[in-house]
Structure formats: C-alpha cells, structure tokens
Amino acid sequence: MKWDISRMGEWTSDEFPLGAVIPEAGNSDDYVTGGWRSQRPERDDEKCTQCLLCWIVCPDSAIRVQDEKVTTFDLKHCKGCGVCANECPVDAITMVPEGCDLPEVK
C-alpha cells in the first residue's frame, strides 16, 4: 500500500494506524539517518580490493555498489557507526570527524 503521510503533522489520535503500525513496505528509505553522524567514512580506492565486505556489514545499506564494485557512501543514510571501517580487511576505510562544514548531502 502507498501510504500518504504528507499531512501526518495534522493527524489526530484516531487517524494514526492502530498500535503505531507502518502499513507500507520499504519506507525506511524516507527516514534520513545521516543527520545522526558525527564521523563519516572515507574509502581509499588504491587500498580497496573490492571484496565487498563493507557492503555486507553496513547496517544501513549505505554503501553503494555498481557492477560489483563499491562506488560511494549514501550519506543520507550512513549514520557513521564505523562498522565498515572496523571490518575492512585492508583498512581502506577511515572515519573522519564531521566538522561544521558538512559535505553536501546527496
């Protein structure tokens, strides 16, 4: 089902789905978790062997892959947990602090 939540801010108690159920599949895409991040991952393309382990372990599916190769991080959803950097077998990912100059969110 397509769930129209455009007026959610005005819904009253009897308009919300019972028991806080979300009646639509796959809408976690709309939930921007990137704002939680205090560190962001950066990948060194020279070191990376394209083993795709980071893609498997990322809890937010925030590692983009094309033609079986890691391309970029989805910074709209990457919450900066550092799991990818920790698990990378060749230390190709470094976590760098987010400054005030946040990169453009793509």
Partner: protein, 395 residues
C-alpha cells in the same frame, strides 16, 4: 441458553479448559505457582492433540510475553497465564502488548509479591499492573474464571477495542479449590469467540507492515497514548455487550460490578475476588438480623466502573473498601482510591473507610468481615470513621 455439563473442578482446570475451547493459535507460557496447573493441563491438551496450538516453552515470563507479542502481531490468537513474580517479570512487555494494540488474553493467578517470599493469594501482582493498559477482569469463583476467560477473547479482539485482557483468579483459593462449574460445549464456545481476523498482521505477506516502530521526540507518541485511552473507554460498551451475549448463551448474568442487598442498604462493602463470598455470607446473617447491609463486587477493574459504582453506592451512609493490595504511601489501596474517586462527584458522599486485608494469603475470617460491618453500622449511627487504611486482623 445452551445445555451445560456440570463438573467438580479447580479454577485452574476450567481456565485451561476455556483456553482449549477458545482454540488459541499460540500459547507461550512459563510455569509459576499457583498458575502452574493451567499451563500444565493446557500442555497436556496440546500433547494429546485436543487443541492445535503452537505451544512455546520459554525460559522466563519476560520471554513468554515477548513471544506472545510477536505471535499476536503476526495475526495469531494468543493466550497465556502467569502469576505474581512472573507478572512482575513481564512488566515491560505488558506495556508493549497494550501499546501495540495486541489482543492477548492472559490468566493471572493472583499471588503476593516478594519480599518476604510468599506464594499465597493477594492482588498485589495485578494491581501493580493496573496502569499497563490492559483490560482487567476479576473472578470470585472458578465459574467466573471460566466465563471471564471466554469473554476476554471476544473483548480483546473486538475492533473497537484491540487491547490485551488480564483475567484474574485468586491464587489457591480459586485456582486450587474444587468448585462446582458449568461448562459450555466446544461448539458453543467456538461459535461465541469466532476466529481472530487480524488486520495489519505480520504474516500477511500481501500487505507487508512494520510493527513496533519508533515515535520519539516530535513524533506522535502522545497521540498513540490518547488512542489507547479512547480504546479502553470504548471497551466499556464492548465489555457490557459481550457480557450480555455471554449471559444469553450461558444463562449466567455478567456485570462489571455485581451487587447484593444494595436496593435499601445503609452500609456497603466494596470488594474484589473470592472474598466477595465471605462478605455476602456475613451480610446475609446480618440481614437476617435486620441490619441493612449490602455488598458490591467489582468484576471489571479496568476500565473501572466509576458511574456504576457511584450509582450502586448512592443511597448508603458508610462504605468499607476491602483491598487485597497495598499502594504504599497512598491514602489506601488501589480499590479504595478508585472508590473515593468514583464518589467525588456524587451528591451524597458517604463515609469511606479503607481496609487492607488478606495480604499473602492471610486468613479472611468471618469475624474480620463482621468487624468491618460493625464499624460501618457504628459510623452510620454517628460514630467517627476510623483512620484508614485499617490493617484487618494484623497484630
């Protein structure tokens, strides 16, 4: 009214029987005295193929209620049973079950809470959970425990309600004493409770949904709680309607509260559970003596029948509220607090005295009940009300 089989059985046996007749898809439970024989006998029904239930043996009550929540969210009809420390261990899941609007039905064998350790009857366990968002029914007898269990399924699963229901019976006194009970036949119960038709079920693969989502800061948490309040308010009418339908089927009237001698009573005792029998027994003797005494038994504690109680007590001069639970630091036990609240808007406000009795299964002797009526008749005659809560029979 359908023909019924009369048996001699314990409260636990007939609760297990009612559960079998309601055909739950899932039962997840952990044994605890004095609930144990409910789940034991139900497990035997499963083992013998007399009910087709997925019986989940878990390692604690925390897991029992967690499994019930998962199964209920999946769309199953779910039942369980617990008592005392077990209910206490379920505490966080109780709120999750009601918040997720899951119509789980749970029998609770009322028992004291530690410390000191005690396995006998009082209402501390259930009363501790009274704000958890569950509908709460209390039984005086094994018969009522059987009837309440069946009605609970209909009330919980009603679309106007969709809340969990706790069906309480007094530990040992009702759970383990053999009582005379009329049992409905399987077909009548099956027809009465019907099948659960779950909306937004996790196992409905055609319509995938998320259960247990986040509604934090800036989110609609307040609105969800208001929705729960509205649902339990709507349940008042549903409890009555289901009670009426069940009465038509069984021939046993159901009231959110039940009165004895209240038409012209000058003094009354308000009570919950098995002690109502002792109180009626004493009241009958006093009536034979010409004393205008009455009894009000609360059968549905959540939602609390404020209007019905105020109406029942509208003509009396003095009321005793007998609490089998404490609310330490409050003016009295939970039932006392509710009764006082029910009377606040009444035009005739009688004197109300709180009594705490029977904690940890301490004996409810008839002399103690007589002393309560003695106090009330003194107050009605002009004596000052004792400062409560009076610890009945305590040294």
């Amino acid at each position: 009214m359908v023909e019924q089989k009369v048996v001699a059985a314990t409260g636990n046996t007939v609760v297990a029987e009612a559960m079998r007749q309601c055909k739950p898809d899932v039962v997840a439970a952990y044994p605890i005295t004095p609930q144990t024989t409910i789940v034991e006998e139900f497990a035997a029904f499963v083992a013998k193929g007399r009910v087709h239930t997925e019986y989940v043996t878990v390692e604690s009550e925390h897991s029992a209620m967690s499994a019930c929540i998962g199964a209920s969210a999946a769309g199953a009809r779910v039942m369980t049973a617990t008592s005392s420390q077990g209910l206490a261990l379920m505490w966080e899941e109780l709120y999750i079950a009601s918040g997720m609007r899951l119509p789980i039905v749970m029998a609770n064998a009322n028992r004291a809470l530690s410390a000191p350790i005690n396995i006998h009857c009082d209402h501390s366990d259930a009363m501790g959970a009274r704000d958890a968002g569950w509908i709460m029914l209390f039984a005086e007898t094994a018969q009522e425990a059987y009837d309440n269990t069946i009605m609970a399924v209909r009330i919980a699963e009603d679309y106007e309600v969709l809340l969990p229901v706790m069906s309480c019976l007094d530990g040992f006194i009702t759970t383990h004493s053999i009582d005379r009970v009329s049992l409905l036949d399987d077909e009548s119960v099956a027809g009465f409770v019907g099948e659960r038709e779950a909306e937004r079920a996790l196992l409905d693969l055609e319509h995938p949904v998320t259960h247990g989502a986040f509604a934090g800061l800036g989110g609609p948490y307040l609105e969800f709680k208001k929705a729960q309040r509205q649902a339990i308010e709507r349940s008042r009418a549903v409890v009555k309607r289901v009670g009426d339908e069940y009465a038509a089927l069984s021939g046993r009237p159901f009231g959110v509260l039940e009165t004895w001698g209240m038409d012209d009573a000058e003094v009354a005792v308000v009570v919950i559970g098995s002690t109502a029998g002792n109180v009626r027994h004493v009241a009958r003797a006093l009536r034979a003596d010409g004393k205008k005494v009455g009894v009000v038994k609360i059968r549905c504690f959540r939602p609390f029948p404020y209007a019905e109680l105020a109406e029942a007590l509208s003509g009396v001069k003095a009321v005793a509220v007998m609490d089998r639970a404490e609310s330490f630091g409050a003016e009295g036990g939970p039932l006392y607090l509710e009764t006082r609240s029910a009377l606040y808007d009444a035009s005739n406000r009688p004197a109300v005295v709180g009594y705490v009795y029977g904690l940890g299964g301490s004996d409810v002797k008839l002399e103690l009940v007589e002393s309560v009526y003695g106090d009330l008749l003194d107050i009605a005659g002009g004596a000052a009300a004792p400062a409560g809560p009076v610890y009945l029979g305590a040294r």
